[in-house]
Amino acid sequence: MCVWAEGGRRYMVFEVFLKGTLFFPCEPDRGLVRVHELTPEKAGQLIWVRARIHTSRAKGKQCFLVLRQQQFNVQALVAVGERASKQMVKFAANINKESIVDVEAVVKKVEQTIESCSQQDVELHIERVGLSSALSDHTTDKQTDRHAHGGRTDGRATVNQDTRLDNRVIDLRTTTSQAIFRLQSGVCQLFRDTLTNKGFVEIQTPKIISAASEGGANVFTVSYFKTSAYLAQSPQLYKQMCICADFDKVFCVGPVFRAEDSNTHRHLTEFVGLDIELAFNYHYHEVIESITDTMVQIFKGLRDKFQTEIQTVGKQYPSEPFKFLEPTLRLEYSEGVAMLREAGVEMGDEEDLSTPNEKLLGRLVKEKYDTDFYVLDKYPLAVRPFYTMPDPNDKKYSNSYDMFMRGEEILSGAQRIHDAQLLTERAMHHNIDLEKIKSYIDSFRYGAPPHGGGGIGLERVCMLYLGLHNVRQTSMFPRDPKRLTP
């Protein structure tokens, strides 16, 4: 049902149950102006806007509304006068928040900047207002109020994360959420564009697989007709098979499933993996350079084209802007260990970095080199998976690397073993059942070029780029050991 208020009279409309037609003037080719286009240039124009009611405040003969459209909002005013009656003002004041309304109004320039809105130099003087999508009866005003406006620390009501995630649809309407996910879309876009320009081919890999790729512990099992199968923990196997199939440089964007019972700020059971694999000519550092250059292009693209989004997120979650160096800083693992020891941390040469040590190292690197993004090269062989190529010059180390943003790991990568014989040896050394990985080893028997790669998690990269603290904020409908809905 659609109700109109216009001028001095209120139309009561009867819904005609003919598909799609409604019994009052509704011109389908009426132009709607986007809220972010409402600027002083349009002052004096009579325009139509469709937006949600963010807030409404009635005061005597006037009603102030804030209309919201994605990340933007604008102040609007209904005042008793020759264009509006008292009933119209009352009608406007009684429309539920979050309802979608169509408004015909004159754009007016304001002298005093409206700090609380994104459109700070104009306001709308409403002549007609119509309700085009109302809230259904059982939702309360309070519920939508809390979610769409909540979570701020500027004295307003805060809503805890679980509640927000349970009511994700309303939570995603907030200006901050809109900005976060637009930025995330940008990351995917930049990833694809940069790699395509470098001559990479996008591939799609299967997610239902017969053998666990990264080791049996953290894998989801699904029933597969009369047997069972697994959900892929990474596209590793298939990326490599594509290299063996002479695709040379490949990337894929797809879900990754990890059945890790970790309830931390940075783990999800399902996330989007952006994976790269490429064959190199002479040295695996070509792979590192390719990946770091891609990351730098992504950072630059975000910095140049998504400033509005970054600022919007920064209003609710302030953080320092993301810094990176060009060319990317690359330290060796032993250098990192030395820096940690200088700061008083005791650890062995071949010991893996614990999470607190990773964070401390990130701090030390930031302080010394002024960058939030760096690569740690030549990890000890003992702490890497069986398919990692050992360092030919020092058997304690390997041709593998991790990349960090703001002190947290975002990518684990390496040169892979491309010789079936060596691969078998390393697998036996790790006590892996050779039967389970027979087809993997076989793919290298037909001649494979030396290659390497790595994968990043989209949600984690967005979280760290924006300086947020929980990966659930950057995952639209997050999945973790305790959450399966929405």
């Binding site: 953080s319 320092e320 200088e342 700061a343 008083g344 607190p356 401390l360 701090r363 030390l364 930031k366 302080e367 703001r406 002190g407 300086g467």
Partner: protein
């Protein structure tokens, strides 16, 4: 624990002949039998005696006021720091940190026994602090680093690394 301190203190003071100590009670309070038959009981008592023996009275303070401040911190060490609970450690560090905001040494403008014994007393806490916590109690860390580099103070204790630059800026994280 106190016995090790006392033998380090002897070395620090340059006393040639090490004394023999015994302990009494559950809390292992150190006891020293002096030549003339007297028994000195308690860390501070013995430490003060050693300082007199080594003819270094300045370590106990110059003026009466100065002496009183030294005694106050020695008492603080024995009553508050020794055998305190984990929850109280933070309070102690906070107290020290705010006290040392505008002072180089605990008592007056010179190195005293108070600095030595307080250093021995809180070392086991500081050695386990994370870099971020050490930065939080900036003044206390500064004083600690100063004392541990003092010649001949740090005998039986491993050095604690203190970074020269601030790694944690005022932002969160």
């Amino acid at each position: 624990m106190s016995l090790k301190e006392l033998s380090s203190l002897e070395k620090a003071l340059g006393l040639k002949k090490p004394n023999k100590y015994s302990t009494q009670g559950d809390r292992k309070v150190p006891v020293l039998q002096t030549i003339n038959g007297q028994a000195l009981v308690g860390l501070v008592t013995i430490a003060t005696h050693l300082v007199q023996e080594a003819k270094r009275p300045e370590l106990l303070g110059g003026s009466a006021e100065h002496k009183a401040v030294v005694q106050q911190w020695l008492e603080y060490r024995v009553t508050k720091v020794d055998g305190c609970h984990k929850e109280d450690i933070k309070t102690i560090l906070k107290d020290l940190n705010s006290y040392l905001e505008d002072k180089v040494y605990l008592a007056g403008n010179q190195f005293t026994l108070a600095d030595t014994l307080m250093y021995y007393g809180i070392h086991h806490v500081i050695v386990d602090l994370a870099v971020q916590e050490k930065e939080k109690y900036m003044n206390m860390t500064r004083w600690f680093d100063h004392v541990q580099h003092y010649p001949s103070v740090r005998h039986h204790l491993p050095p604690v690394v203190v970074l020269r630059n601030r790694v944690y800026t005022s932002g969160h994280h």
